[in-house]
Symmetry: none
Subunit: 424 residues, 2 copies
């Protein structure tokens, strides 16, 4: 079977199997896999891997082991009922191996009233499938699965191993992928189909969550001039953070971030303070997410925010005496990057061109992914490329365009052949 | 008994009974009487009124009746477990009656870490008693009680009625005083011992609570530029309110407000928004208190804030399409004022001079009191005069100076004699 005819057969197979693969994606989307509820969706995935003849490994990560690892973060330490699933297609030898890593967990549906349908409807309309997780990232996962299934059913034999991973916990700090790394799964490269809108992200932004506690002094609202409003101080802090964000982003000269308005944003996502309308509020808590540049060290970014708060406090008589308190809590995503000249980048880019008849857009990711962990804990250089779109991730009425899923599957199938090598 | 010797005997009685009255105040302060928890403190007061031989009326206001009244405002409509207490000392006839009105409810203690002792410790140190409500206004209530007890124990007989009221809900809109008005308690004048720092406040600022809901648009924090932060919009609103406050206060030329930095403040007391550190917050709610000038109409003040928000929204592309929503909710204190030449003002001022050997400071109140309701719903002209200090009200480590409590008691005892008239 020559490469050219195989390329055609892949295209044809995906077209012919589009309906059944779409139904399969629908089942996966319909299975609510918010944190703690991943089991049903994972069973669907594991069953399909079995049917495809892969060696399937299903296990519940051991929180006691995981929590010893410096990169562990999760709001929980107990994963019973939340299995990881890995399917291994062993190559014949002599080829390069690949990890195909997608997370099965989805963020909560949020305010149901903002959804036109049930958040887990899987409804298909105008070529789009709707549901929480459709774009982030079940559409991507099924694109990977479709690529593998296609090659299996076409009777292709590869030299390198293909390791398909359906992991938990990506949305809460990556302990699913960390567990897979600690179980020994490593490869020569990894592909993560997070919603890049078919762009290729060789560099992945890290991120971490912070909490800032700002003090004021209470007083009766009628004599508010005798108190110090923690809300007003929090506003000053918020402005200082906005300036720091600008400084940090002005420094970014990586061409991969060209055209991205704020490459590494600092987002204040939550504010809470005061407990009585007619009292001057004496405490405000801000919570947010700080982006970390792909080649930046987490600790350097942390130190920079700490310094920013110190400087803001220095300029204010009250905060000088009552400095805001900074904590790092909750989720954390390690940044990652692959050399732009890495062989896997070439293979993926070529495959994209072959299938899409256009040059891919190569950018840096606006968010953290499990790619940081794969790179830094698993020594597996990682690239992010997927069919979903960032603007739909975590949104009400999340959807995935089905055409993109199948285009992605086709690019990935061709990538596997070139990367892992075809056994003649 | 001539007036001069009675004046001396009042002074002596208060000095001799200072210790037991201080202990009584301590018990009242130690009884946490935040909203919904007033019962224990009210029982202590009612018991003392019984001991003094007054006709005691204890009742739980009927929310169903109250809520029909146009001046009713409370976050609740159910007052079971939260009784009002009134003690009536019936005069012999032919004299002017007086209402002595103090609220038993206290605002929440707030951040406990800012308190050196338990917020309900009642600790005495350096002539000060500490505790939430000590200054606002249990110290004042007990000063009134001490004045009445003093006259009773000295065997004084008055011509006019003395109606002592220990009411709930002042901190939440005055439904305790409204209930007392509706129960039929009216008088020729009222004295309210809110913390004026021994100043006399013939004009009482009104106030009302507002809630502003600011919308944003959610997005992933890593692409925050695709969303609209409701926190940032709330900051703009906060700045617009600061400007409005300045405009409104620049207009105040009443000499009673001379020396008060911000006569009618607008306080933002509470902020809450966003629900995930790495999402752009799509909703922020601000709650606050707007001061209303003594002669201003509540509806004019309301219209002014509404206009301010409209103008702020006009200047912002997002808010123009998604204007902030303004609601008036919860507490509301009607402004009130008594004629500076009213006979009760003369009596109180004279008594002050007699006792304190100095002219009283006459100012306008920086906050709303139940005096507005007494005046406007109860046709009872009201003056505010008390031993606490505004700067301690709603503060951590709130305290009252005990010397002021007894000075106030002495001024009030002499006021009662002159106002109600001594039966020969």
């Amino acid at each position: 079977m020559d490469r050219q005819s195989l390329k055609t057969r892949i295209h044809t197979w995906l077209a012919e199997n589009r309906e059944s693969l779409t139904t399969f994606l629908q089942h996966v989307v319909q299975a609510d896999s918010t944190q703690g509820n991943e089991k049903q969706a994972q069973q669907i995935v594991a069953e399909r891997l079995h049917e495809m003849g892969l060696d399937v490994d299903v296990w519940e990560p051991d929180g006691n082991e995981l929590k010893k690892h410096p990169y562990f973060y999760s709001p929980r330490e107990q994963f019973s009922g939340s299995p990881n699933v890995v399917g291994v297609w062993k190559g014949s030898g002599g080829g390069r191996s690949i990890i195909l890593n997608g997370h099965i967990d989805v963020v909560p549906a949020g305010d149901r009233e903002q959804w036109e349908d049930d958040p887990f409807s899987g409804k298909i309309e105008d070529g789009k499938m709707y549901g929480r997780g459709a774009t982030d990232m079940k559409g991507g996962n099924v694109a990977l699965l479709a690529a593998v299934q296609c090659l299996r059913e076409l009777g292709v034999s590869l030299k390198g191993d293909v390791i398909f991973q359906s992991v938990i916990e990506e949305e809460s700090g990556g302990s699913g992928t960390l567990a897979a790394v600690l179980r020994g799964y490593k490869a020569d490269a990894a592909l993560i189909p997070e919603p890049t809108g078919m762009k290729i992200f060789p560099k992945q932004q890290g991120s971490m969550w912070f909490r800032i506690t700002v003090k004021g002094r209470s007083a009766h609202g009628g004599t508010r001039y005798q108190g110090v409003s923690a809300i007003e101080k929090a506003l000053q802090i918020s402005e200082a953070i906005r300036k720091l964000e600008k400084e940090r982003n002005d420094r970014i000269d990586d061409p991969l971030y060209d055209g991205i308005p704020i490459p590494i944003p600092i987002n204040i996502g939550k504010i809470q303070g005061g407990d009585w309308p007619s009292s001057v509020p004496d405490l405000v808590v801000l919570e947010g997410r700080m982006g970390v540049a792909p080649e930046e060290k987490m600790e350097d970014a942390r130190a920079e925010l700490a310094r920013c708060l110190e400087q803001a406090a220095e300029q204010d008589a009250w905060m000088k005496e009552h400095p805001p308190r900074l904590e790092w809590f909750g989720a954390r995503w390690v940044p990652g990057s692959i050399d732009l000249e890495h062989a896997f980048m070439n293979v993926l880019t070529e495959s994209y061109r072959d299938v899409m008849q256009a040059d891919p857009v190569v950018e840096a990711s606006p968010w953290g992914t499990d790619g940081g962990l794969l790179t830094q804990a698993g020594s597996t250089p990682s690239v992010v490329f997927g069919p979903g779109v960032t603007s739909m991730a975590h949104f009400p009425n999340e959807y995935i365009e089905l055409d993109r899923v199948f285009e992605c599957a086709e690019v990935v199938a061709n990538t596997l052949i070139k990367w892992c090598g075809l056994e003649d």
